[in-house]
Structure formats: structure tokens, C-alpha cells
């Protein structure tokens, strides 16, 4: 199976790879997937005044999973929390030209975004 140029580019030059400290103020962390399924994504956002000012990821998974999470961090930066909620896995599929067998990678990325947003909200409410 051939990968699209965009997947290869994200895989070779991942954007925003790394981690924030989970406890840090304004940081939301989403971790989805499971090692036995062959995919685990950790996606983190840093929020100031309801806007995502930075995002980072770490992913265990195939090239498409890595590319999906890398792309997600790129898209998240600069978005408001409300805008971020609207990112759909189908947008990722389209942007990366993912074949049918790789759609689950984009689903996982959407789940990771939602999980990071929920984590941020929970932390904000508990403050």
C-alpha cells in the first residue's frame, strides 16, 4: 500500500511532537487507544482565554496514526475551544488522503482531540 505524500511528510517531519507537563496550568491531555490494538495517541493542548495556543502529541502506531495526530496538533493551534470541538475525523481523512483501512487512525485522532478538550474543561471546573 502506498502512503500519500502528506502522510509521508507528517511521518518524516512530525509537527509538534513532544509533551507538556500534565499538571501545568491550562494543559488538557487526551490519551486514547490501546497498545494491543497497535495504536495509542497522546494529544495535549495548552489553553489561554479559551484559545488553544499550543498543542503537542506523542503516538504509538502506524504512519497514518502518526500523521493524523501530527496534523491534529497543527489544526488545533490558534483555534478556540468551540472551533476545536468541530474538527471531524472526515476532515483528517480528506486532508491526508487516508485509504479505508486507515480511517480508524483519523477516528482515533478525533477521539484524542475530544479527550484533551474534556480533560481541560474538567481541570478548569475543578479549580
Amino acid at each position: 500500500m502506498a502512503y500519500s505524500d502528506k502522510v509521508v511528510d507528517h511521518f518524516n517531519n512530525p509537527r509538534n511532537m513532544g509533551s507538556f507537563k500534565k499538571e501545568e496550568d491550562g494543559v488538557g491531555t487526551g490519551m486514547v487507544g490501546a497498545p494491543e490494538c497497535g495504536d495509542v495517541m497522546k494529544l495535549q493542548i495548552k489553553v489561554q482565554n479559551d484559545t488553544i495556543v499550543d498543542a503537542k502529541f506523542k503516538t504509538f502506531g502506524c504512519g497514518s496514526a502518526i500523521a493524523s495526530s501530527s496534523l491534529a496538533t497543527e489544526w488545533l493551534k490558534g483555534k478556540t475551544l468551540e472551533e476545536a470541538q468541530k474538527i471531524k475525523n472526515t476532515d483528517i481523512v480528506q486532508e491526508l488522503n487516508l485509504p479505508p483501512v486507515k480511517i480508524h487512525c483519523s477516528v482515533l485522532a478525533e477521539d484524542a482531540i475530544k479527550a484533551a478538550l474534556a480533560d481541560y474543561q474538567k481541570k478548569a471546573e475543578n479549580k
Binding site: 490519551m31 490501546a34 495517541m41 503516538t59 504509538f60 502506524c62 483501512v101 482515533l108
Partner: protein
């Protein structure tokens, strides 16, 4: 060095130029049908086929008359299992095989089971992928007509104790089929000493052409009979009809002849390169685990799991090296290698496995390049892996509640 480097010699092998040379006259000039009994074209083709039959039989210590040509090992496996089951149905319908067989065997037994034609015992293997002959003995019932155990595994290279299994089969009067596709030409095979009654193998795994294989069918002690699965002109003593592909058979014969002459030197060379690859990688990368048997394995095989990184992404990071992974990220089921699972390798480590298949034309320079590249990409992907990060922080990954999808 030429790129890409081919390190996937269990999937197929490049044809040896000497094989091609032997085949060439049989396309245009000597094109006869080996079954044409009445003219020189036919005689010439028949003679070439009989020469190849001898070369092939010699490699496995069989009689040339015991070689039945097929389209490849998959067909041979099918013919052996279905042919025996149909021929010996009065005697019983129980087959014993193992969990790590190639799908050409497992899918055949499953399809026969689904049709209600047989009951099958799938023997487990040990942690290194080996079938225990004692398990074979214990599984035999008065309905058992066939034992089918592979010589060497295509993923992990583990070589089974075939000789002991053959002995048990003889003692119990049960036929023994061996799928020897990965073993023939790589390690010594002797159908007499090993007590094998039927054996499947093919040309393209041993530097011969694709599209031709053989089924060895024992002629005496006992005389094995199989029901043909393809009807027609009664070729191959009625066991497999169809015009013989003379150029392919000539190539198959030549490939066997070369293997026989060069096996000792080639196997030593491959083992050396494999050991160098293994040592180079495993010394540099913590938490890399060898899959399969440390010593009873094919000379050119190496299978390693790299904890915390996924196999397909490893392959993607080494595009200039042709390799294979036990990860199943592209399969619809998301199930990783059933062979590694049968060894008790955890699912996550099965996803992280890479199979290196070394062959006749690999060089030490290529091996050294591969070592460097593997270390580089595993290190890079571990940096990217949340699992590696957690493990480094001291989190026990097994204690984490994962949101499985």
C-alpha cells in the same frame, strides 16, 4: 550499495541468473509438450522434465518418481490434505496439525472442517515456536489419518523436530505431511530419515521461478495414495492433471541443484550475517526481543520485537529496506500475527515485530546499513511513543486502563 535492499527472502527470492539461463531455451526453441509421445519436440521436453525431477529428488533424498509437479506450495498443501482425506475416508477423518502452520494448510483444514469432512486437532507450540512430538503422539486417535506439521516457520524461522514426529507417525501407522516450503534448499532435508510421506515445497523460495512447486508422495513403505483434485489428462501419474510448465520445471530443477551444491557454504554465510545483524541491533537497543528459537532456526531468519514502537511505522521509516512486519495495521481485523500470538507473545509486542529474511544475494555492507538504520528509526519512534515515555516515567503499562477501540 543498490537500493532498495531486499531483506524479505521468506516471501520470495530473486531468481538466480544461472536458473534463468537454464530456462531460456525452453520458451521459444524447445517448446514441446512433455506429454507428446510421438515426436522430437515432446521427447526433448520430457527429457528436460525428467532431468529436473532427478535434481529435485536428489535434494530431498527421494526417488524422482515420487515428485508430483504443481503450481506451488499452496497447491501442494491443498492436494496433500484434500487428497489424503478423500482417499482414506474409510479409515478415518481426523487430522493433526499445528497452530503456526502457513495459511495454505490452516485455511485448507478450516474449509474441510466447515464442510463437515474432518475433525482437526491444532497443536500448540512452545514459547520458541516448536511443536512437541509428545503432543503429536497424544493427539493420535484410531480415526487419525494424517499429521501435517511444517519443517520451518515462515515468520520466526523455527525448525520443528520433524524427524521425531515422522518416527511417531510410522510407529502409529499415520501418514505424515510436511510443509517444507521454507526449509527445502536452506537446511538438509531427507524424506527417508525424517519419515516424511508427503512434502510440499516450491521453486520461488529457493531462487527459482514463481508458478511451480512440488508435492513429494512416498511410493513405498508405505505407498501413499491421494485423490486427484484437478481432473484432466492424467499427468503426474494421475495425481495432478495439466500440461507441465517445462521452462518453470527446468528452472526448479536447476535451483535445487545449486542449493544442493552450495548449501553448506551458503548456510554458514547466512548464519554469520544473521548473527551479526542480531548482535548489532540487540546490543544497541534495549527491550528488543528475539522471536522464535535461538538456535533451531533457519540460517537466514531473524525476527525481533521492539517494545513501544509499532511495526508498520518501523517499515515506513526504512523504506529503502524491504522487510515484513507482524503488525496488522492494514488488516481489517487489526489482529497481529497469529504465529507470534501462538508463541504467547503479547499482542503489543506482536504489533512491534519485524522479520528480517536474508538470502543468497545479500551482502555484509547491506547488513551493516540495516543495523544502523534500525537503531536510528527505533530510537526516533520511541521518542515519539507515549508508551516509551510512560515506561521511562516508571508507569506499569499493564496496569493502565486503556480505552480499547
Amino acid at each position: 550499495m543498490k537500493f532498495p535492499i531486499f531483506l524479505d527472502n521468506h516471501s520470495t527470492t530473486p531468481m538466480d541468473p544461472r536458473v534463468l539461463e537454464a530456462m531460456l531455451p525452453y520458451f521459444v526453441e524447445k517448446f514441446g509438450n512433455a506429454a507428446s509421445r510421438n515426436h522430437a519436440f515432446g521427447w526433448e521436453a520430457e527429457e528436460a522434465v525428467e532431468t529436473a525431477r532427478k535434481q529435485i529428488a536428489r535434494l530431498i533424498k527421494a526417488d524422482p518418481k515420487e515428485i508430483v509437479f504443481t503450481s506451488g506450495a499452496t497447491e501442494s498443501d491443498n492436494l496433500a490434505l484434500k487428497g489424503v482425506l478423500e482417499m482414506y475416508k474409510e479409515k478415518g477423518n481426523h487430522i493433526i496439525t499445528s497452530a503456526t502452520e502457513h495459511r495454505a494448510v490452516l485455511d485448507t483444514t478450516k474449509s474441510l472442517e466447515a464442510k463437515g469432512l474432518t475433525t482437526v486437532t491444532y497443536l500448540p507450540v512452545d514459547k520458541q515456536g516448536m511443536v512437541n512430538p509428545q503432543d503429536v503422539r497424544n493427539a493420535i486417535t484410531d480415526k487419525t489419518i494424517l499429521i501435517s506439521v511444517m519443517l520451518a516457520n515462515n515468520e520466526i524461522g523455527t525448525v520443528n523436530p520433524v524427524q521425531e514426529i515422522g518416527k511417531i507417525a510410522k510407529e502409529k501407522g499415520v501418514l505424515f505431511h510436511c510443509d517444507a516450503t521454507q526449509g527445502v534448499g536452506k537446511i538438509p532435508v531427507d524424506v527417508q530419515a525424517m519419515g516424511i510421506d508427503l512434502m510440499s515445497f516450491s521453486a520461488h523460495k529457493i531462487y527459482g521461478p514463481k508458478g511451480v512447486g512440488a508435492l513429494y508422495v512416498r511410493k513405498k513403505n508405505p505407498r501413499v495414495r491421494i485423490a486427484a483434485q484437478i481432473d484432466g489428462g492424467g499427468h503426474e501419474r494421475g495425481m495432478r492433471s495439466g500440461t507441465l510448465p517445462v521452462p518453470l520445471i527446468v528452472g526448479f530443477g536447476k535451483a535445487c541443484e545449486i542449493c544442493e551444491q552450495e548449501m553448506a557454504a551458503e548456510s554458514a554465510h547466512l548464519s554469520n550475517m544473521r548473527d551479526r545483524l542480531q548482535a548489532g541491533i540487540m546490543a544497541a537497543l534495549e527491550e528488543s526481543y528475539l522471536n522464535g528459537h535461538p538456535t533451531h532456526r533457519l540460517p537466514g531468519n531473524l525476527n525481533i520485537s521492539f517494545a513501544y514502537v509499532e511495526g508498520e511505522s518501523l517499515l515506513m521509516g526504512m523504506k529503502e529496506i524491504a522487510l515484513s512486519s507482524g503488525s496488522a495495521c492494514t488488516s481489517a481485523t487489526l489482529e497481529p500475527s497469529y504465529v507470534l500470538r501462538a508463541l504467547g507473545v503479547g499482542t503489543e509486542l506482536a504489533h512491534s515485530s519485524i522479520r528480517f529474511g536474508l538470502g543468497r544475494f545479500n551482502t555484509e555492507e547491506e547488513i551493516d546499513y540495516t543495523i544502523k538504520k534500525v537503531i536510528e528509526i527505533v530510537t526516533k519512534l520511541r521518542e515519539m511513543s507515549p508508551l516509551y515515555e510512560m515506561a521511562k516515567e516508571g508507569v506499569d503499562l499493564k496496569s493502565v486502563q486503556w480505552a480499547a477501540h
